[in-house]
Subunit: 572 residues, 2 copies
Amino acid sequence: MKQSKLFGKTVKSAKKDMQFASHKLLYQGGFVRESTAGRYYFLPLGMRVRNKVIGIIREEMNKSGGQEVLTPTLHPLELWEETNRDNAAGFELMQVTDRRNSKFVLGGTAEEMMVALVRQFDLSYRDLPFNIYQFSQKFRDELRARGGLLRVREFTMKDAYSFHTNAQDFIQEYKNMEDTYVRIFKRLGLETRVVEADNGYIGGEYCHELIADSHVGESTYFVTDDGMYQKHEDVADFAREEVNPQEELKDFEIIEQPAWVKTMEDNEKHYGLPASRFLKNVVYKNRVTKEILIAVIRGDLEVNKTKLEQKLGLVGVLEEATEEDLHSIGTKPGYVHSWGHENNSNGIKVRYVGDLSLTSVKNFIGGQKEESTDSRNVNYGRDFECEQLFDIALAKEGYKTHDGKTLIQKKGIEVGNIFQLGCHYTTKMSNATFAAEDGSLTPFYMGCYGIGIGRTIATIAEIYNDDKGLVWPKEIAPFVVHLVALNLEEVEVKEQAEQVYKVLLDKGIEVLFDDRESVTAGEKFADADLIGCPYRVVVSKRTSIENLEVKERSKTEVTSIAIEDLLQVVLS
Amino acid sequence: MKQSKLFGKTVKSAKKDMQFASHKLLYQGGFVRESTAGRYYFLPLGMRVRNKVIGIIREEMNKSGGQEVLTPTLHPLELWEETNRDNAAGFELMQVTDRRNSKFVLGGTAEEMMVALVRQFDLSYRDLPFNIYQFSQKFRDELRARGGLLRVREFTMKDAYSFHTNAQDFIQEYKNMEDTYVRIFKRLGLETRVVEADNGYIGGEYCHELIADSHVGESTYFVTDDGMYQKHEDVADFAREEVNPQEELKDFEIIEQPAWVKTMEDNEKHYGLPASRFLKNVVYKNRVTKEILIAVIRGDLEVNKTKLEQKLGLVGVLEEATEEDLHSIGTKPGYVHSWGHENNSNGIKVRYVGDLSLTSVKNFIGGQKEESTDSRNVNYGRDFECEQLFDIALAKEGYKTHDGKTLIQKKGIEVGNIFQLGCHYTTKMSNATFAAEDGSLTPFYMGCYGIGIGRTIATIAEIYNDDKGLVWPKEIAPFVVHLVALNLEEVEVKEQAEQVYKVLLDKGIEVLFDDRESVTAGEKFADADLIGCPYRVVVSKRTSIENLEVKERSKTEVTSIAIEDLLQVVLS
């Protein structure tokens, strides 16, 4: 392609609100443009990368037994009502009504649509398993879109759905998809980890994220040195070691406490004891039922809201309590008790839920703070009890696993995910069954598997760049060779450039030919670096067919080679 | 691919409401399934055809200089407001509102979006022309969806938009796209005609439809024997020959007329004269302004509403008048005058618009029919006048062109279209300009070009089938070879089948291998015919590697050939 004809120009500087390298460079290089916040156009250069990424995913999915299909973009609302996801918090569905007053959802994922397709057929165990996938636009009505292609409101997703007779059969496909995903990302230049994660609004019993490490990632996860532990912070469990096992249980007391002792730091200072010796209460409100919920936890730990929601089956439903909420149960900030609050003003009982750490301490301080008093020698099970103890604490770097290994914190971008769904959808939706070997109608056992295309491209851009621009891996570069022609005012140079261009094209090599006449050499080199094709070939009055100037984008040295040798290098 | 693993089964019979061959066979063969009316799933077989069709279109578009891009599915409503298309009749836009109360349109076409993208760049005449295209989902809130993939509410369209400095430059690209489209459809097995057409809600000055002849098509058009005339009925002009040139003008009279003379047939009978000697009045109402409009035409002709709307700049706005509408201007059905009605009940004046045919007759009968009288010797220009005479008559088989050739009527399916847009969008939208050679900011001159993917597939299916099923052209067949294995209970046959399968796959041939064990030979043959792969290869206890049974889907003879010869045949 001749660059003089290319739609989408490079831009010297990024916009102020662009924080991430991928955002800046994909904008500056002319790969994407924003339409409205979180909705992007792909320009010709971006589209070439995108089509290659899709091509690789399609190839690997087919190789692994996947079968490509396509669902409509508009999903009948009834389907989402069948699974109660039409109002699911956290999902941010957009709805449309047509002229006949039929209601539709702009699909965020397609579990319901795929089940609705599969149940149109009269399937038996003989027809199972299968894995059907699609590339299609997905929509999320996110309140905030940020970071270019990393978090958007509309995106292309490769989403796959597998259907099985039972869990044993499913497990094999889950492993198959895990391997396929790792292989796909490897071909795309991304090293990924398969990290156990929270399944959020998707449902099912377990899931994993495929994470590429990056400091701009929104996924925090933990690993151990031996690689045996890889868990997202929303599911990362860890040991609650006994804090003071040697201590004797003492009698519960209400004690005087100076008025200045308010925060955890104040407590530590006043009592000369570590935060782990105190009780901490974190208050939430259920946004649907308006119920107040107090999460009680050891003072040195923090509550992970996702864990809490997941354990209580309240995904996306809890919000931090306001001062007003505290007043409604007769208390105020800094004075929340671990037990015994009034019902709230709607008459709804306060719920107390504890972290596993409550049994790791003898003789807690706190739990019943008033203006000038507090309680001490508080022991869980003897002096107070929560409705249940769960693992609801946020893991942190340095915490120990149950077998004594140290957690190491990582940050990364979730580029893919795989979910066990089991019969979560097929028992909620009618007729989502197959005829089993014994003739009984049995719900399909399912899994689903997603890769965000735009986010994957942004992640590659985030990792493959330097201070001059993008450095695309060869397999997904927009063009393999950037042929930069200088001194085009000289006829011989022009002929030489056209000749090199033709030879490369004839060999099936993708070439971006910078044939622009009114652009300086400096600008041309800057553009080549910014766009980031793997090989830059310069033709000028100082070169010849036998002596072309070649530079790999990822290296610094410039070499002079003949065109035959160039072909060898590029085609290798 | 092994058929035992294929998702999407064949079905013995179609559903009652399926009228068209393409609808029936794409359903029965397991290529598509309906979600809700007019919204389709593509199954794996259909997806393979679809991906090949898209691949061919992409290849040809790129070869012709097109550059692939992608716009978001949700278009900001403001853009459609800029061009006043947000409420355009006939377009059937669907709207969505997000959580921040931003309004979006589900794109039906993308002129506004593409202009909004292009104007983000600071372009000059040096950057022009270019042609950017995309494959993306389009939405039409059609009241009635019918005929499977032929008329749907959601579909994938390849839509291209070209930007130019001026009309001369545009014309070249228009011709380039016309040639490209004809070439694309030829590769897809479709002979198309480039037919002058009405541009409806798209705007611009002229356009053409690419039509593949088919009796189920919704496009009626006319040609002449010499191929010099190819026009859609909505723009087909024809000569209004003088009906009675020899006659003298006579004096206008009001005459008695028996009460039974009501219809045109009654008139012909009563007066013993052909319909062409009478005046006919067709009444419409403007659905926006409520204005009543009377179209006056020669009695043997009919009004083409699209022509009328187009000539008056009222696209999609006219509807047939009701009895009530007639009462509102003081008349009733069968008694409409060609002049002189009262204003309607809203006080709006009645408009009279005439067809060119009004000047082709001397001494018309009719135009002022009352209970027992009518007028005769009515002459246009002398006795009455319309606000203007236009070409608003429906062309018919046998009518003559202005140069005396005979019109031949055809029916076909519109698979593509090309539009001159000129500055229709770029003058309505702000900043849609480039810096011209003289430095002035000049609106882009545009064209746009569309191909409906699903409709193209349905058209191919409509044309390539027989009473047993589909007969896919090789280049877009879901698989090239359907390997049908019989007698799989015998180990040697199974081994032979697997061997043939492997040899074909190793050569890169796409094979659907019917390895199903619980299916009869008859069912397997029926499925192969229904699915319609170009070559059926049978392996059974009567065949061997040196002696395979091969049949082309489009032919009847079965031949026995060795596998090497098969490879030659298939790869040719």
